[in-house]
């Protein structure tokens, strides 16, 4: 329950934070600390310094660009996100995810940036953000760059951030009209550690009214099953341009062709996890299709 020796630093601007991160060997960003500090208690990691960005106001903004893009500061807490009525209006999937995360104490501290930068297989936001084509704005000493989700989430506990870089914001493009996002997961107990998670986004033509149309674009992403969010391109292809109909959900069970070894842990075997990934995917597809038809 005790931390190793370390320095605590609290810069006031993102630039200062990035400077510290690149200057100080072994320094890491302390955002909400809801996972990082646990790792330190368990003596799994040994940073020389924690660079606290939680209070940097520039990182705590939630705002919208004119094109409808939702820009979430990296240090925005889950509870701030859940409580943002604008987010709920434009990107309900993001607000819902934030509102359902862990528990009320952790929601008050945990940040979307921390959730993404850790990229733990069980984390909620990476697969959702991958499905939403989010972009990750990153600040280094030589300026900003923007990463796509597949460039950002690169592996188990690994991201595309380079040493000394700081995630400053997550940008979620405006949802096309008629677009539906569904998230399904199987958890330990009623609402604990995720065993398998699937996020499906369906964009379709014919914006108004009810009834069927065609899928214009689709995303299908798994979480918790592999080390990093896994986009199922073949599923997405099979959905694309298809007519939105109740049978659509059953068309895609293409997990078997994925050549990645599923995560294993005490909660279940890899075979079960894989099967559950299919179940969650099917459910998410069904929910997305139903949402599209409605």
């Amino acid at each position: 329950m005790l931390l190793p020796p370390l320095r605590y630093l609290r810069p006031e601007t993102p630039g200062d934070a990035a400077a510290l991160l690149s200057e100080m060997d072994g320094s890491v960003v302390l955002a909400g600390g809801q996972t990082l500090l646990n790792m330190l208690k368990l003596d799994l990691a040994r940073p020389a310094a924690l660079v606290d960005v939680h209070r940097i106001s520039a990182l705590r903004d939630i705002r919208h660009r004119e094109d409808g893009t939702l820009i979430i500061g990296a240090a925005v807490t889950y509870s701030a996100l859940a409580g943002s009525s604008e987010t709920r209006r434009t990107h309900p999937a993001v607000a819902d995810m934030a509102a359902s995360l862990v528990d009320r104490q952790v929601r008050n501290r945990g940040t979307i940036g921390g959730n993404c930068c850790l990229n733990d297989p069980a984390n909620n936001f990476p697969p959702l953000l991958a499905a939403l084509d989010a972009r990750f704005r990153v600040l280094g000493t030589d300026g900003e760059r923007v990463l796509r989700a597949d460039e950002f989430f690169v592996g188990t506990l690994a991201t595309g951030l380079r040493r000394g870089e700081l995630l400053v914001a997550v940008e979620v493009p405006a949802m096309p009209p008629g677009s539906v996002v569904a998230h399904e997961h199987l958890q330990v107990g009623a609402d604990s550690w995720a065993i398998a998670r699937a996020v499906v986004r369906l964009d379709r033509d014919g914006t108004g009214g009810t009834g069927e149309g065609f899928v214009t674009d689709a995303r299908a992403v798994l979480g918790a099953v592999y080390g990093s969010p896994l986009r199922l391109h073949s599923v997405e292809r099979s959905l694309s341009s298809a007519r939105v109909s109740p049978g659509l959900a059953d068309a895609a069970t293409a997990l078997r062709e994925v050549d990645v070894r599923p995560t294993e842990d005490v909660h279940c075997s890899t075979a079960y996890r894989l099967e559950m990934a299919e179940v969650q995917l099917r459910r998410a597809l069904r929910a997305a299709v139903e949402g599209s038809i409605r």
């Binding site: 072994g26 990082l36 368990l42 003596d43 592996g155």
Partner: protein
């Protein structure tokens, strides 16, 4: 136990790779190793901090070379950090290629202590990344 395998190409030839076994001095050039030295029993000791992890996870490393030849080598590696211990039996194969050497590796990995409990769902990938990284880095200084 986890079994991992990998392969990569390096411009160095097998002789150069084997030469690394000769002295810790050469290994000191590997960027993720610090304080490389030879211990009383002839093993190599160093502090290893893999680059791939988002938080520094330095390990105390003990490497003993059990067998080494032009076609391959066998190493026993123990890495400890806090109350976590990782034991790796590492088999390396060297195959000459047009551009140098193809190094193939196979590792039997046992993770024990806190890391085994907390890291169960990530440890396979982390160990894979760490072995791949250190081998490539080492080959690069050959």
């Amino acid at each position: 136990m986890i079994t991992l395998t990998g392969r990569f190409d390096t411009p160095a030839d097998a002789a150069a790779l084997l030469a690394l076994h000769g002295g810790p001095e050469a290994l000191a050039a590997v960027p993720t190793l610090r304080g490389v030295r030879r211990d009383a029993s002839g093993g190599i000791r160093a502090a290893f901090s893999p680059r791939g992890t988002f938080v520094p996870m330095p390990f105390a490393l003990t490497v003993s070379v059990e067998r080494a030849s032009a076609t391959g080598a066998q190493l026993a590696v123990r890495a400890t950090r806090g109350q976590t211990a990782v034991d790796v039996q590492l088999r390396l194969g060297f195959e000459p290629s047009t551009s140098g050497t193809t190094v193939s590796w196979a590792a039997d990995v046992s993770v024990r202590g806190t890391g085994a409990t907390v890291g169960q769902r990530v440890v396979r990938d982390l160990v894979y990344a760490a072995i791949d990284e250190i081998l490539r880095d080492t080959a690069a200084v050959a």
